[in-house]
């Protein structure tokens, strides 16, 4: 067991972990942050997507030990984030979830799309979402929710 210090959602959290432990398992089992979901455990489904130093990564194929000293943000860490509040409302309005299992990863990816590609059209949104699987919705609601947020943000007065 190795002590691992992570800056998670603005707090510095120290917990022991085996070297082989994935970031996803460490977050869920050692730190009790079960908002990060584990699906395929080999980097295909995107359910475990979290932010590492501000950029989305797969928590199931990133070792917890490799994140020593770095900043993480899980879905629990966006309570005060205005963009995530917009996304949550849009996901609800557009029926962008049913069972909700993929939703934490979808929200982190949607946040990245809105931040990095604010002008994205439907085709680009679908391409960027290709790494997050949803077995309920058929993606239509998810794509519409992201489109809604991008449109809202583009129509805002210049900040």
């Amino acid at each position: 067991m190795t002590p691992i210090t992570l800056h998670v959602n603005g707090r510095t959290l120290r917990a022991d972990s085996e070297d082989r432990t994935s970031l996803a398992d460490h977050l869920r089992e050692q730190l009790g942050l079960t908002g990060t979901h584990i699906g395929c455990e080999h980097g295909v489904c995107g359910a475990c997507t979290v932010q590492l130093d501000g950029a989305p990564v797969r928590a199931c194929i990133t070792l917890a030990a490799a994140c020593q000293g770095r900043a993480l943000r899980t879905v629990e860490g966006f309570a005060d984030d205005p963009l995530m509040a917009q996304l949550r409302a849009a996901f609800s309005a557009e029926h962008a979830l049913q069972c909700g299992y993929c939703t934490p990863g979808m929200l982190i990816t949607a946040h990245d799309i809105a931040t990095r590609l604010p002008q994205a059209d439907e085709e680009l949104i679908r391409l960027e979402l290709a790494g997050n699987l949803c077995r309920c919705t058929g993606y239509r609601g998810i794509v519409r929710a992201i489109q809604r947020v991008l449109a809202e943000r583009l129509s805002l007065p210049t900040r």
Binding site: D19, E41, A65
Partner: protein, 280 residues
């Protein structure tokens, strides 16, 4: 779906990494000591227990391996540079010297969440023939810089692969960087791949690169089952406009399945269309 136990060490320098990759007293004779970086290929293999190393040596934080430097007609890209940095180009400190080829290829590797961790050196050292960098670096005849206990050595990409997942890297060595040529203003390129779903590994790859100022005409055909096949020289590459000539190359690649042959023909046809319709 959990990795078997292994020990993990992160490194600050290449020297430290090379020392950690040496067998230690108490290691089993068959102990596998593996360098790693973003673990975007190795992570799934660990979780599926397809790979069971005794120890991982993480290179991703070594400053020298994250550096990008221009040296005359070549750009040296550190092995731990992520796909996302290459995608983002100048904004991420990776100048594009290939008239858009490397950023475009990078942008279509897997998904952004994978590109933020996965590295060019990891992909090349892993040597999955369906991976983009394997075909692209072969197309560009890139140079691979290998660091070992006795210093750095240089291997052309044509001599780096003995076969899928099999490279010139010896135990105790690491891939330090890849050097790509700086394209001239007259260079043209095309790169097409067939994926069943965006972000998946390719079923067929075709690349073309012409640079009259460098005297280069090259083509690459990439497939999941064998290492990329190159054709060089203006006449030989131009001959690949003829599907019959392409068929002979596919014979050399031992691609016999008519459906797979069709995929490769289609990718090369699209690559030629890109070359012929590209603005000069």
């Amino acid at each position: 779906m959990k990795a078997a136990p292994f020990a993990y060490d992160a490194c600050d320098s290449t020297t430290q990494a090379l020392a950690l990759l040496q067998p230690r007293a108490g290691d089993a004779d068959d102990a596998l000591l593996l360098p790693c970086s973003g673990t975007q290929s190795l992570g799934p293999m660990l979780n599926l227990r397809l790979s069971r190393p005794a120890r991982l040596v993480d290179l991703s934080r070594i400053p020298a391996l994250n550096a990008v430097t221009r040296q005359g007609g070549r750009l040296r890209i550190g092995a731990a540079v992520t796909h996302a940095r290459i995608e983002d180009g100048d904004a991420a400190g990776v100048p594009d010297v290939t008239r858009g080829l490397l950023p475009q290829v990078a942008a279509h590797i897997a998904y952004r969440a994978v590109r933020n961790r996965g590295t060019v050196g990891g992909s090349l050292a892993h040597g999955d023939p369906a991976g983009d960098w394997v075909s692209v670096m072969t197309l560009l005849d890139a140079q691979l810089l290998i660091a070992g206990p006795s210093g750095e050595r240089r291997v052309a990409s044509s001599g780096f692969y003995a076969g899928p997942y099999t490279t010139a890297l010896q135990a105790g060595e690491i891939l330090a960087a890849v050097e790509v040529p700086v394209f001239s203003d007259r260079a043209r390129w095309a790169y097409r791949k067939l994926c069943r779903k965006p972000g998946e590994l390719a079923d067929a790859i075709a690349g073309l690169w012409f640079d009259p100022a460098l005297g280069v005409a090259r083509a690459v055909l990439g497939a999941p089952d064998g290492m990329p096949h190159t054709v060089s020289g203006e006449a030989a590459v131009q001959a690949l406009r003829d599907p019959v000539a392409v068929g002979l190359q596919l014979d050399a690649l031992h691609i016999t399945d008519p459906v797979q042959r069709g995929w490769h023909q289609a990718m090369l046809r699209r690559a030629w269309l890109d070359i012929d319709t590209a603005s000069p």
